[in-house]
Symmetry: C2
Subunit: 126 residues, 2 copies
Amino acid sequence: MGHGAAPAVGSVPRTRLDAANAATVATTLQALATPSRLLILARLREGPLAATELAAEVGMEQSACSHQLRLLRNLGLVTGTRNGRSVVYALYDNHVAELLDQALYHVEHLRLGISDAAGAEADARG
Amino acid sequence: MGHGAAPAVGSVPRTRLDAANAATVATTLQALATPSRLLILARLREGPLAATELAAEVGMEQSACSHQLRLLRNLGLVTGTRNGRSVVYALYDNHVAELLDQALYHVEHLRLGISDAAGAEADARG
DNA sequence: TGAATACATGAATTCTTGTTCATCTATTCC
DNA sequence: GGAATAGATGAACAAGAATTCATGTATTCA
């Protein structure tokens, strides 16, 4: 396969995935499946921030960012707490931060093997 | 907030996420953002399997499953190796397995706090 | 060689989703 | 109260993606 086994980063209890859970899990993971939301979460990973500043930092329009923030709130990934005129957003808890970290880490390492995978795939198609 | 900090499961090097990377990372994470692919990956997590059997086990039509498998192959998440008439699919490497494990683990724990988050959110809007 | 099994693929369709635009609510300060 | 700032939200639009259907390719076996 040309790609050795990766070192285990951390061992985590395995969750059994049935068809019923798949839908809800997929819904939550969709939060990480778009560049805009990924940037939002990555920025909040570094600390809380008001909505407008957040939009500015990730280069989105206020409205678009607000829509995405609502989605992330509904998924329970971020919280928004009013502070005067502004609403300060933050990651909900450590699970979100770690989910992000793990996702970025593994995806980055996966991309190192993509050309490799393409080659193996070509062989398979033979 | 009603939700304490989660115990750190494993510490992983932080990846800096800029706008350029966000798109490619999001593309890869989309593999986990759909019930069908999630079921496919979860099944392969338990061991390699031929395409038709895989489709049967996750309850998909052969064609639909094949389309998703192609996508997963192009992302470098799974490999398909021909074995006689059948093509045996497997997770590409340990990073895929761990990404899956971590995602399932954290999402499951996130969902425990969702009603909590909804409450906090209502307060914030108040 | 011909039938049967196992996958792959292209086109079409339908559903979902992200963004924009316009507008609306809430809060602060005069 | 009125203006200004900060966010939220609904409708509309555009783009993307998942599934189905029909068909194509590859391999085995008689």
